[in-house]
Amino acid sequence: MDSVRSDRNGATSRIPVALKILIAGGFGAGKTTMVGSVSEIRPLQTEEVLTGVEGADDVNGVEGKTTTTVTMDFGRITITDDLQLYLFGTPGQDRFWFLWDELSQGALGAVVLADTRRLADCFPSIDYFEQRGTPFVVAVNCFDSEQRFAAEAVGRALDLDEGVPVVLFDAREPVGARNVLIELVEYVARRQLTAAASR
């Protein structure tokens, strides 16, 4: 995209291209932490106010309540002046699945955070991205710097499709979080090249 405008001082500001990466996983798996550790801006939160959502907050006793609020975390990484990466932490609760549809629209890919103490928590995220065909990597968040399981064992336990990368990392470490993103983007590129070759 090379849309360029001149401002009052005659300088130009180009319109960057923004790529989205989703950070998913169960409650407490480290989504907010990961967005925060790798974002160049203070992680921001924005709210989506939902109107008339089926299954919004239990309305017993407050029948007049037709809206509910969901908070999304997001962060940004500037790759170049023309290219920005946006990270979105997906809303955790099941009843916000429909927001995932908008978030995954045009997304580059997703990181599914797994906590080996509660591995089943990430099943819904994996199912979702598999069904949608969104490329994802599984990142095992090792909170206590203790590697209980090898990446291969986690991959087998999750019954992942062949080639889906599994990485161990610490969501609090910017370098680790960055490496997970690199792993994802390289995986997306590999998939793209394979798809192009088989066409």
């Binding site: 923004a18 990484i77 908008e102």
Partner: protein
């Protein structure tokens, strides 16, 4: 009245005005969609025109003098995404902003772009 009735004060008490009051109850923009990572740019300095605009409309125009994404606008102005979208629709109808869509959702991401992303991440 329970004893803890006054525990919530100021910001803790939440917004005084319900979010969609600002949009006169409209929950969707009048024209088109605004992707979360679409970029918005003001087409004219704030104050050029705009009878009937709210302070929030003006705040958007000011914030969008440099290109800014929809999600960052919402966060910067502390408005919900839904409200921002309605207000952006008004501004687009009034010709005060332009929107630049992100790459089409259906198109595969360009491998050269992906390489640039990997190199950019490595350089962090």
């Amino acid at each position: 009245m329970p004893a803890d009735a006054h525990d919530w004060l100021d910001h803790d008490a939440g917004p005084v005005v319900r979010p969609y009051a600002m949009t006169q109850g409209r929950v969707a923009p009048s024209n088109g969609e605004f992707d979360l990572v679409a970029f918005i740019v003001a087409t004219a300095p704030d104050g050029a025109s705009g009878a009937g605009l709210l302070p929030e409309h003006h705040a958007i125009v000011t914030a969008a003098w440099e290109p800014i994404s929809v999600v960052e606008l919402a966060s910067a102005l502390d408005l919900s995404i839904g409200v921002i979208r309605v207000l952006l629709g008004d501004l687009r109808s009034a010709g005060l902003i332009s929107m630049y869509e992100p790459p089409a959702a259906s198109a595969p991401h360009d491998v050269d772009v992906l390489k640039a992303v990997v190199n950019g991440l490595r350089a962090l």
